[in-house]
Each structure stands twice: as C-alpha cells, then as structure tokens.
Amino acid sequence: MAVSSDKVKPLDDKPDAESRLRRLLSQREVQLLLVLVVFTVLVRAGGAQGFLGPTHFPIFLSQVAPDMLVVIPMAMLLIGGMFDLSVTGVANLSVVLVGWTFSRLLGTMDDTLLIILVVAIGLTAGLIVGAINGLAVTRLRMNPLMTTLATWWMAQGAATGVAGGESRHNFVGSFRDIARFQPLRDLGETFPFLQEMRISTLPMPVFYAAIVIFLGWLVLNRTRFGWHIYATGSDRRGAALNGVNVNRITLIGFIATGLAAAMCGIVWASRLTSAPPNTLGGLELRVIAAAVIGGAALTGGEGSVLGAVLGLFFMHMIRSATIQLGLPVYWEFFVLGAVLFTAVAFDAWTKRRADTQ
C-alpha cells in the first residue's frame, strides 16, 4: 500500500508537549483566564489592593451569583443556535409576582407553605414565557430575535401592570433566607480557616450558581442531550437528518432559560425584600455578552459552560474595578462595550485566519 502509507500521518492520541501547549493556549477558556489574571494584577497595581482579595472575593461571588443562574442556560441556548432577550422581563415579572402574592396572601396560611407557593408562582411565570418563546420559534417558525423582544416587553409590561406603580415589601421574614442564608456558617465555627477565608459567609445564591454550573457542564459535555445541543447549533438541518430532535432541543433550551430568569428574580426579591418592577436592568445583554466573550458563537455550535462563567466574571470584575479604582461609574458601559467589541473582533480574526490556512 505504498500509495497511502506515506500520506497517512499517524493519528496521535498523545501529542508532544509543544503541540499540547499550543492547543491549550488556543482555547478560549485558557485565553480568557489569562486575561482575567492580568486584569486582576493590573487593577491591584493600580491602587485597589483588595481587589478579589479575601474580603472582596466572597462578596464578589455573591454579586455574580444571580446572573450566573441565567448565563449558563443562555450559553446553552446560544450553543444550540438560539438566544433569548426576554430574560430581564421574565426576571422582573417573577419579582413582582412574588411581591404581589405575599401582599395578598400573607397571614392566610402557614409561612413555609406561602414561601413554597410564592416560589412556585415565580417559576411558573418563567416556565410559561419560556414555553411561549420555544413554541413560537419551533412550531410557528417565528424569528427568535423578534419573538423574544416581544415577550420581553410583554413580561416587563405585565410586571409594571401588576405592580401598579408601587413596590411591595411586606414579605415573610424567612423568605430572606432564599438569598441570605449562609449554609456553611456552622461549619465555620468548627473550622476557623473557613471563617478566615470568609467561605463560611457565602450565601445561598453562590451555591445555587455552583449547582447550575455543574449541571450545565454535565449536560453539555457528558450527555447525548448536550451533544445534540451542539449538533443543532452547528447545522440544524444536518443534525435533523441524523435523527436529532432539533425542535425539542430548542424548546427545552427556552424553557430552561425562562426558569433560570425567574429564579434570578426570586433571589433578587429575597435579597431586597422588596419587589419593584424594574429590579433588573440589562440582564439580557449582560449574560449574552458574557457568553459571547466566553466563546459562544451567535451562529451556534460553539461555546462552553466554563467560558460563560469566566465571561460573566469578567463583566462583573470590570464593574467592581471601576468602583474600587474610583473611576467615574458612568464610564462602566463604555468599558463593557469596548471589551465586547474586542472579543467579537478577536473571534472574527481567529476564524478568518483559520479559514485561510
């Protein structure tokens, strides 16, 4: 077989160290991690010594956590070739429904039962909007951009409508525990190092976020469903021809995103113990931008959970750094926009280079 033997390079399962390093450095997650490290060093050198230090880090984590609940399913939706603008509206609707239910039903039933009911109502709102988005896009073949823009406004309008111009705050006290309970507090008394590192003070949302991150990673990388998400976003028709139920993938993606946005709203209501209809602003662009900075392609088929996590960290680090360095906060959006622009330009550049090789 002289014809082929000199042509066929051996398929190497164990590449040499140099090519392994090069492959590692070509991964978006690794590049982004390096950027975050350099950014942290620069900010600390620039005068904010405590930036992401032992005092700041736990606070930083609890600030990122509510967004983290949404960025994971949003990244999965993007990988599947879709996206959802309605999350801010859904989160605010969930906040307002929580406040409305409390103000109507407080005292009529057991507090624990009421909290369960409140959470169920908030999540149901997310489920319904997510299902509407998913069915509109798959069954009616409506454009996802316009569909989720419309449902965003409807959900936001319903939120302000139900709120009727006022912000409710007669909540059950123990409802605060959803956002404020510190599950490791007792452990911190037994193991002082947990207290010193402030790990024992981490509130519940950090743990919700950790669970969502783990589940997202597991589903996306280790299950057929996850590979089918990638397949759907990579080539919808090709995936369907090979037996992937692309409409089911899309529908479930929208429902998961809706539920996550509703959960984000519940966490905020619990944290603020108040329910204004404009609690969340800009959530949709923050999480979409974070996922894109983390390597998710708007055209689908590419991206990762770790990338989305790092992308969201970066967005929040910029925000924190602006404040800690005493820069005018009004410029925050300029910096965020510039970072997003750079990320997208870098993407286009690497793709162009790869295509011409």
């Binding site: 089918h228 397949a231 080539d235 995936a239 021809l241």
Partner: protein, 260 residues
C-alpha cells in the same frame, strides 16, 4: 501500481462469482408527465465498484434516490442479497445496509470528527457519554479507511473537501452500510483530493462493500470501477466491463450516437 494486482486476485476466484448484493430491475418512475426512469437496471456485487454514467437528465439521480429510499419507484423490483425488498424511506434503506453519501454531506462544521461520526447515535454508559470508546472507535474507523486526517478531535470546519467526504463515508460505513451509493464523490474536489478520494473508494472495495458511483468524470470512472452501467432517457442502455471497453464507446452509449 496496485490496481492490476488486485484485479488478478479477483480473477482468481472469478469462477465462483458471488450473488449480487443488490439488483434493481425494470425500475420505472415518473413525475407527473415526465418519465424519469423506464426499465432501468443496475446490479452490484460485494467487493465491486459499478459506475453509473449518463448525460444530464438521464435518470442517474432518480435511480440513486429510488435505491436510497428518497423516492418510491412506480414499478420494478429491488433485490438485496437475493431477497425482494421494498424501500419506502431512508430508514428502510439504512436497515438493509444501503447508505447514500450526497454531495451535500450533512456534516456539523463546528464539531469534531468523533461527534460527526456519532451524531444521533452517540454511545452512552448509564446515560453518560462514553467519549473514550467513541474516540477509540473513531480512530479505528478512520485508520481502517486509511484516511488522511490530522486528528479525530479536529472540527470538521478545518478539514478539506476530500477529508469531509471521507468523514461522511466513514459515518455510514461505521454504522453497517454494505452497499454504498456515492453521488459525484469527486466533483467538488481538486486534483490531489480527488485522487485521495478514489483511493479511499478502492479501500472500501477491498473491504467487500458493494459500491455504486455516479460520476461525470470518465477518467475517474475508468480508474476505479469494475463495470460501467450507462443510462439514457431513463433506460439502462447497457453495462460494460471495464477491460472490454474504452471511453469512446462509453461516450457513444451515453450520447446515443451510432454504436457501430
């Protein structure tokens, strides 16, 4: 040169010529008033490459689509391994071990070779993807086809046209296809890639697949095939054995020019 040597090997056991894997006879198909196929015939044996040639509109694509289950024929008979079968949809064809690789390959550009090989049929272990097994199998399949790929973890987007086609073929072979219908496998390829694709098709023949190749390129046809079936106006004009003919005769049969 390896081809002649292969040929003698085959001639060695030519006395016990195997039963054709696939026979399609008297196949008729019309679309409204257009008679696309009338009395078309083709057969292919295991370890044999049959070229299906004909002018544009001669019915090559229609015949391939009938065999692959994309079209239902009006009349005629299809025999697979000697058994009369009915192929009503692509799944029937798949179950019979018939697979078609179209020019448009239905691959996933952003996914690696492993994911493309297994899309829709991923291997799992207690609900968790068995990525190790899929990678091992993918390496084995790719080696078996002697395909020139950098790594099975390369996204298909970075592969050349010929390599993509190899992945598409590897996919159907891996899932048990014995009869391969290749629609213009070299049409979109450069010279070097076309050469590699022809070599790949020859390897498939060594693995005892029955292969029907639709092609316009008679040079390619003469390089790899054993027999040539010529279609004209939806009818099989004849089937020629490569050693007993040349391209002039084939062109005459394709165009319907005077056979003598």
């Amino acid at each position: 040169m390896e081809a002649p040597q292969l040929q003698t090997e085959r001639e060695g056991d030519a006395g016990v010529a195997p039963e054709p894997l696939l026979i399609a006879r008297n196949i008729t198909k019309s679309f409204g008033h257009v008679q696309a196929l009338s009395n078309a015939y083709i057969d292919v044996r295991a370890g044999e490459i049959v070229a299906l040639v004909g002018d544009n509109g001669a019915g090559k694509s229609t015949l391939i689509k009938v065999l692959s289950g994309a079209h239902r024929h009006d009349a005629g008979e299809i025999l697979v391994r000697g058994q009369s079968v009915s192929i009503n949809n692509p799944n029937d064809a798949f179950d019979l071990g018939i697979a078609t690789v179209y020019q448009d390959l239905a691959l996933l550009p952003s996914r690696d070779v492993v994911a493309n090989l297994y899309v829709g049929r991923e291997l799992t272990n207690n609900g968790i993807l068995d990525r190790r097994k899929m990678t091992e199998e993918a390496n084995r399949v790719v080696r078996q086809l002697r395909t020139n790929l950098p790594s099975v973890h390369t996204p298909v987007r970075f592969l050349s046209g010929g390599q993509r086609q190899a992945v598409a073929i590897a996919r159907v072979v891996h899932f048990g296809a014995e009869i391969l219908l290749l629609d213009e496998p070299t049409a979109a390829l450069g010279v070097k890639e076309a050469h590699e694709m022809l070599t790949l098709i020859e390897h498939l023949k060594e693995q005892d697949k029955g292969i029907i190749v639709v092609s316009h390129n008679l040079a390619h046809v003469f390089r790899i095939c054993d027999r040539i079936t010529v279609l004209r106006h939806g009818q099989t004009v004849g089937t020629l054995i490569k050693e007993e003919t040349d391209s002039t005769e084939v062109v005459r049969m394709i165009t319907g020019a005077d056979l003598l």
